[in-house]
Each structure stands twice: as structure tokens, then as C-alpha cells.
């Protein structure tokens, strides 16, 4: 595994990368079958002889993590349990052993170092300081802040406890670091509503020279407000200067493995992960450019059967190995979550 961790993040072309993924994902499939009873049940329903490469592994629905305790380790080896934000319904629960937790951190570090370099940067967190204070509920927002904070120093929060702009903090932070590389991080909708729109309203403009903003957490609220990624970025440029803006795609079920948006607006899979688009009607592989259901693969899901997951997001592969940014592998876009079909009919809930 050590050598796998040291691989360059975006240099393998699809073919070479696929061989690597085939090997690791098939091994994980076998491992989880041997160690997680429900996953074994799932896999044994399919004919084993039809599974010879990563693309053949039936993707396991993310939904199962909301409905079952799915673990491939003994309770004694549990290092920690991650829970999804649970803003919509029951939260997922993901069991980590020490090794998986360590790999998650390593993979995240390797991936982000590609974009940020090795030095820790002064960091402005676009959120309120109390977001990470509640130790009992590890929200996706808190997990994101904690994860990204490893890459920063001199951490400051742009918002106060009431999610309002903390102008003194922002002013002094930008003043101090205007010329230097600096890191900003926040949830997409919070960056937009609580930060950028508020700065605009207060007619505040900055000219940051070497800043990078990472944001993620979904476009649901943005789509509701009909904000496109392009409009989002243009507004940020007007407000903060020509900074680097990167959206990322990731989920608690595969913490550490994140797909980052390049300078051309496409998400890139790191060497340890892959994205497959499947047709909603029959889960067959979609062609490039064809919209379908997103499957995420990750070779570091070692303590729970989360190496090949069927999400409820829609996306499309744009191409492979030939993004203008020069990074190899697949590049793709996400078109948002499939709206949850309401369970209607006789076996209804009262809502």
C-alpha cells in the first residue's frame, strides 16, 4: 500500500490506471465479502464468474449505509465512526479502523498538495467558529473544515456565531496576506450566501493576488437560486480578485477521496479513485457525455464495503486523459442529486 500512496495523483492515463484499480478493487471486493455478512449476501446474489474487472463489480448503493451497520472489521478495531450530515433523512454511518482513517488523511493530503504545495498556508474558513465545536455530531461541514484545516495555519473564521460577516477579521486577514498564497475553504452555499453576496452588498472589494478557494458540499441550494458555477466564479473574481476557485466532489462514505475541479471547470479523479457513470434504467455503462448515475470507486475503503458505491447523484464523464489542464484520467461534471422519489401509495408515511 505504501507504494500506492506515493503514486502521482493525476499522471496515470486511464488504461494504466484501470489495471491498478482492477487489481485493488477486486481484492477489496473479496475482502469485504469475507468480512461483511450483508455485503457477502449482496455479492453472492450475482454470478461470480461475471466479475473480472472493476467495471464488473456491482456498485453497492450508498443508501445501504443509512439502513444497515456495514462493517468489515471487528468492533474492537473500530477507530472511529463517521456520520453524514443527515440534513435529508437518516445519516449514513461509516466505520473506520486506524488504517482506513490514516489512509483517508494521507490521500487527502496527497491530493491537496498537488493543488496547494507542501507549505501550510494562512487560512480563512468561510464559516462560524462554533460549527466545529459540537463534538457529538460530526457534521459534513465540520468534517470538511477539519480536513482542510490541516493545510492551513493562522486559521481565521470569516463569519461570526450568527453566520454574519466578521468584517474586522476578514479585513485584517486579507490586508496581512494580500500578496501571499492563502487558502480559503467553505461550503458552496455558505460561501455564496453568507460571504460573497454579503461582501457585494456591503460593496467591499479585495484584490487578492495568490489566493485559492476550495468549496464543496453540493449545488442543491445554488440550483434553487439558479446560480451556475460560471456565475459563481465570475462574482468571486469581481469581489476578491482573480483567485483560484476549486469546487470538489466527495462524500462521507468515501472521506479523503475527493475529486477536484480544475482550471477548466472539470472534476478530476485522483489515482486512488474512479468515477463511473451508469444508465439509470439498467446500470449499464454510459458513454462519455451521457448523463447517468454516478458510481464512485476508492481503493482506500478498507474497513467497510464502500470501495464501489452507487450514489444518487447524476453526472457525466466529459473525457479521459485529454483535459486541457493536462491532468490524466477521467474528468467529469456533477449535475446534482436525483430528487428523492416520494414513496406514494398505500404503504405511505404521514407527512
Amino acid at each position: 500500500m505504501i507504494e500506492l500512496i506515493d503514486l502521482p495523483v493525476y499522471q496515470y492515463s486511464t488504461k494504466k490506471k484501470q489495471r491498478l484499480l482492477d487489481k485493488h478493487l477486486l481484492t477489496l471486493t473479496q475482502f469485504h465479502q469475507n468480512n461483511c455478512a450483508l455485503y457477502k449476501r449482496f455479492m453472492q446474489a450475482y454470478s461470480a464468474s461475471s466479475i473480472n474487472k472493476a467495471n464488473d463489480i456491482p456498485p453497492f448503493a450508498v443508501r445501504h449505509f443509512k439502513e444497515h451497520h456495514l462493517s468489515s472489521i471487528s468492533d474492537n478495531d473500530t477507530f472511529k465512526t463517521l456520520n453524514s450530515s443527515g440534513t435529508t433523512g437518516t445519516p449514513s454511518s461509516i466505520v473506520l479502523n486506524a488504517e482506513t482513517a490514516r489512509l483517508q488523511t494521507k490521500v487527502l493530503v496527497k491530493t491537496l498538495q498537488h493543488w496547494l504545495g507542501k507549505a501550510r498556508l494562512p487560512m480563512l474558513i468561510i464559516d462560524a467558529p462554533n460549527t466545529i465545536k459540537n463534538k457529538n455530531t460530526m457534521t459534513a461541514r465540520a468534517a470538511g473544515i477539519n480536513g482542510f484545516s490541516m493545510f492551513g495555519r493562522d486559521h481565521h473564521y470569516a463569519l461570526d456565531e450568527n453566520m454574519q460577516l466578521n468584517i474586522e477579521v476578514i479585513d485584517s486577514f486579507f490586508k496581512k496576506h494580500q500578496q501571499q498564497p492563502l487558502l480559503m475553504f467553505g461550503f458552496t452555499s455558505i460561501v455564496w450566501q453568507q460571504f460573497i453576496q454579503e461582501l457585494q452588498q456591503q460593496k467591499r472589494q479585495y484584490n487578492l493576488l495568490q489566493a485559492t478557494l476550495f468549496h464543496g458540499g453540493g449545488w442543491k441550494k445554488m440550483i434553487q437560486q439558479t446560480v451556475t458555477n460560471d456565475h459563481f466564479k465570475q462574482t468571486i473574481y469581481q469581489c476578491l480578485g482573480k483567485i483560484n476557485v476549486h469546487n470538489y466532489y466527495g462524500m462521507v462514505e468515501q472521506t479523503g477521496t475527493i475529486h477536484i475541479e480544475c482550471e477548466y471547470g472539470y472534476l478530476h479523479t485522483p489515482i486512488w479513485a474512479d468515477v463511473i457513470i451508469r444508465r439509470v434504467s439498467d446500470l449499464s455503462l454510459a458513454n462519455n457525455q451521457e448523463l447517468g448515475l454516478v458510481q464512485v470507486n476508492s481503493v482506500i475503503a478498507k474497513s467497510y464495503p464502500g470501495h464501489c458505491l452507487l450514489t444518487e447523484d447524476l453526472g457525466q464523464i466529459i473525457g479521459e486523459d485529454n483535459c486541457k489542464c493536462g491532468r490524466k484520467g477521467k474528468y467529469f461534471i456533477i449535475k446534482g442529486r436525483v430528487p428523492r422519489a416520494e414513496m406514494r401509495g398505500c404503504s405511505d408515511t404521514f407527512a
Partner: protein, 402 residues
């Protein structure tokens, strides 16, 4: 007095004054169960639906109109009269007075049958619909509203209230429940439990979770096209989520070639009808299929899917698969050699059949609440889910305090 809790959207509010006028100035016996004035009102609505351009195109509304046409109401009334005359110490029955119906968020029309039967029984009604109701539900309410507005002297006007509110408005559920002498919950075990937790009621009629299945025996003589069309009438409406829609099809001694032909035609016919499913339903179908895989140690013998249908054959098919099945055009199939291998349980609601002889029909008659030929699974019947609604919506008059 109809309660008026906060945060309620009143789709239809009973004309209280008119109702009282109607009772005082005409005769209180207009509110006797199955009084001619009520029957005529409902039959008039049937005509209205059959003529209206918006309802004419909706199969479910046409079915409703057909059910409440004058001739059919006369038939049901006869049955009611029989019920009345069979009461031992009195030949009179009375309405139960006030009924609160809680409709499911879909099977958009079923609540309306319940409402009409209750109104015909002379009861005042409050129907609660969910904010998640389908378009058809709102269309039906709209048409009914128009009908009430266009026709002046309807006894029905005093008897129908339709409200919409969020389930978190427990004050409303409590107020309407306290008002009601009978509460009708159109199911879902979860819904029933949630409502019980908000406001218990000592006289209620519940329709809990059910599943339904189809049994088919085909030979070369059968006109498969016809069989398929009838099957679709049971299978497709409401995204296969009505409790009487079959979730599984059992082939009784039918050769594989004929089955293949059936599915070929089924696929062709399904592409022709306008489905009410969308991308979300197809995603749910994939996830639900996986949920079924986690129920027991099993094998997928066969699986084929497209936008219109997912056809699956498991090595073993058990009751739990049918209970966890969530519709969305997922059809489980199984070959059987005798009817005793059907998955019978107390949650089984309907068996629809084709090609069974008298003996075989007899054999399954008492295994479920309803045994009907293909094509009739969703036809509303006043014996619903084993409950005799004519009896439920009325009382022998000696029960009444006066």
C-alpha cells in the same frame, strides 16, 4: 361545528349555513344513509366527470365516474337496504355522523371513493390530503369544487370538507380527530402509527401495508395481447404503488416460450402508455432491488430492465421481498407448479389471476382479501381490504343515544 385549527388550507369547506338550512327547511331525513337526494347528487357528479374535458382523459377519473354512476349506486344501495333489513331489532340504520379521512399521498383517487361512500351514508366529512399529493388528486378536487359551485341545491355541500396541512401540525390532526366519530386512515403502517401517536381514536378504520400478487396460467390458445393489457391495468397505475397492484407474477405451469412472448408484448405495450414514473423512480427501483438482495441469501436467476420495466427472477422469493417492494415497475417473477407455493401471509391483499379453472380459483379464494381476474385489481369495491364499508360508515340506530 367544524373545527378551524391554524395553518390549514381549506380546498373545500362545507357550506355550514346551507347545510343547516337544508336540514331545517327541507327534511332532516335527507341525511339518512343512501337517501335519494344524496344518491342523486353523487350520480350528478358522475355525469359531470364523464362530460368534463379534463377528466375524460384520465383513466382513473373515468373509473371513478363509472363507479359512481346512477346504476352502480342503485346496486350498492340495494346492498345497503339488505344490510338494513338484516339488522335484527330495528330496520333502521343511521350515519356515524362525522368522519375524518386521512388520505395517502397518492393513489390519488382512492380517498374520494371513501369520501363518497361516507357522504352517501349521510356523514359529514373532513378529508385531509397530504402536500405530497399527485396532480390527479388536485385535479379531482378542482373538478369537485367546480361541480359544487355550478350546482346550487346540493345536499352534498354540507357534508364535504377537504383540507391540506403538514403532518407536523399535530394540533390540526388532534382537532379533526376529536371532532370525528369515526376516523379512516388510508394506510401505511407508519402513517397509522404516527397518527395514533398524535391523537388516539377509539373508533377508527385503518388500511395498513399490504402487498398483492398475480398468478397466471397461459397456454397457446390464450390471446396474449389481451392478457397483457389487463395485466397492465393492474400493474402500472400509480407507479405500481397501490397496495392492490401486483408486485410479483407467478407462472403456474406455463412454458417458458409463452412467458417470453408475454414479456415481449408487455414491454411493447408499456412503451405505449404514458408513465407517471421519472428518473427518481428508476433510481429508487435500482436501490429497492438492492434492498431486496439484502433480505436473504439468494441468487439472481434473471434480471432485465429498461425505462419501463425491471423484470427479476430470484432463486427464492419470500413474503419479505413483497413487503419491502416499493413499486416503480419492478416485477418479480417465479414459476410454480401448484398454488400452495404462493407466498401467503396476513399482509397479502389481492391475488389477480388469469387462466385458473374453477377449482383453482376456489383454492385461493380465502387466502387474501380480494381474488379477482386480471384487470380488476384496482377496481374500487365497497368491500375494501376485507372491510365492509357500507357497514363501517353507518350504525344500527340503537347505538345512538337518542
Amino acid at each position: 361545528m367544524i373545527p378551524s385549527p391554524n395553518n390549514i388550507h381549506w380546498h373545500i369547506k362545507a357550506k355550514n349555513s346551507e347545510a343547516i338550512d337544508a336540514i331545517e327547511t327541507t327534511a332532516k331525513d335527507k341525511l339518512l344513509p343512501w337517501h335519494d337526494s344524496l344518491v342523486n347528487n353523487v350520480a350528478l357528479f358522475s355525469q359531470y366527470l364523464l362530460k368534463h374535458p379534463q377528466s375524460k382523459q384520465q383513466a382513473e377519473l373515468v373509473a371513478l365516474a363509472y363507479w359512481c354512476r346512477k346504476a352502480n349506486l342503485a346496486k350498492i344501495k340495494q346492498e345497503y337496504k339488505l344490510l338494513e333489513s338484516s339488522s335484527s331489532n330495528t330496520n333502521k340504520r343511521q350515519s356515524v355522523a362525522r368522519v375524518f379521512h386521512i388520505a395517502p399521498s397518492n393513489v390519488d383517487t382512492v380517498f374520494f371513493y371513501s369520501l363518497l361512500l361516507s357522504a352517501l351514508s349521510g356523514n359529514e366529512n373532513i378529508v385531509r390530503i397530504s402536500g405530497r399529493s399527485g396532480e390527479l388528486c388536485y385535479l379531482l378536487i378542482d373538478l369537485f369544487k367546480q361541480f359544487l359551485n355550478e350546482n346550487k341545491a346540493l345536499t352534498l355541500k354540507g357534508l364535504v370538507n377537504i383540507v391540506e396541512y403538514n403532518a407536523i401540525n399535530t394540533a390540526a390532526t388532534t382537532a379533526f380527530s376529536q371532532w370525528a366519530t369515526l376516523r379512516v386512515i388510508w394506510g401505511g403502517d407508519e402513517a397509522i402509527e404516527a397518527i395514533l401517536a398524535i391523537a388516539p381514536h377509539d373508533n377508527q378504520l385503518c388500511f395498513p401495508d399490504r402487498y398483492s400478487i398475480a398468478v397466471c396460467h397461459l397456454t397457446e390458445e390464450d390471446d396474449i395481447q389481451t392478457v397483457v393489457k389487463k395485466f397492465i391495468a393492474d400493474f402500472s397505475p400509480f407507479n405500481q404503488q397501490a397496495c392492490s397492484s401486483p408486485k410479483a407474477l407467478f407462472w403456474l405451469n406455463t412454458c417458458r416460450e409463452i412467458q417470453s412472448e408475454f414479456f415481449k408484448i408487455l414491454n411493447q405495450e408499456l412503451t405505449k402508455i404514458e408513465l407517471d414514473s421519472n428518473c427518481s423512480n428508476r433510481v429508487e427501483r435500482q436501490i429497492n432491488f438492492q434492498q431486496l438482495l439484502l433480505i436473504n441469501d439468494n441468487k439472481i436467476i434473471f434480471q432485465q430492465s429498461n425505462d419501463y420495466l425491471m423484470l427479476v427472477e430470484f432463486e427464492s422469493l419470500c413474503v419479505e421481498h413483497l413487503i419491502r417492494h416499493q413499486g416503480n415497475s419492478l416485477l418479480l417473477q417465479k414459476n410454480i407448479v401448484c398454488l400452495t407455493s404462493l407466498p401467503i401471509s396476513k399482509k397479502l391483499q389481492s391475488i389477480t389471476y388469469w387462466g385458473l379453472n374453477e377449482n383453482e380459483q376456489q383454492q385461493i379464494k380465502h387466502t387474501s382479501k380480494q381474488v379477482v381476474p386480471f384487470g380488476l385489481a384496482l377496481a374500487f369495491n365497497h368491500h375494501w381490504d376485507g372491510k365492509a364499508l357500507l357497514e363501517e360508515f353507518t350504525l344500527p340506530s340503537y347505538f345512538l343515544s337518542e
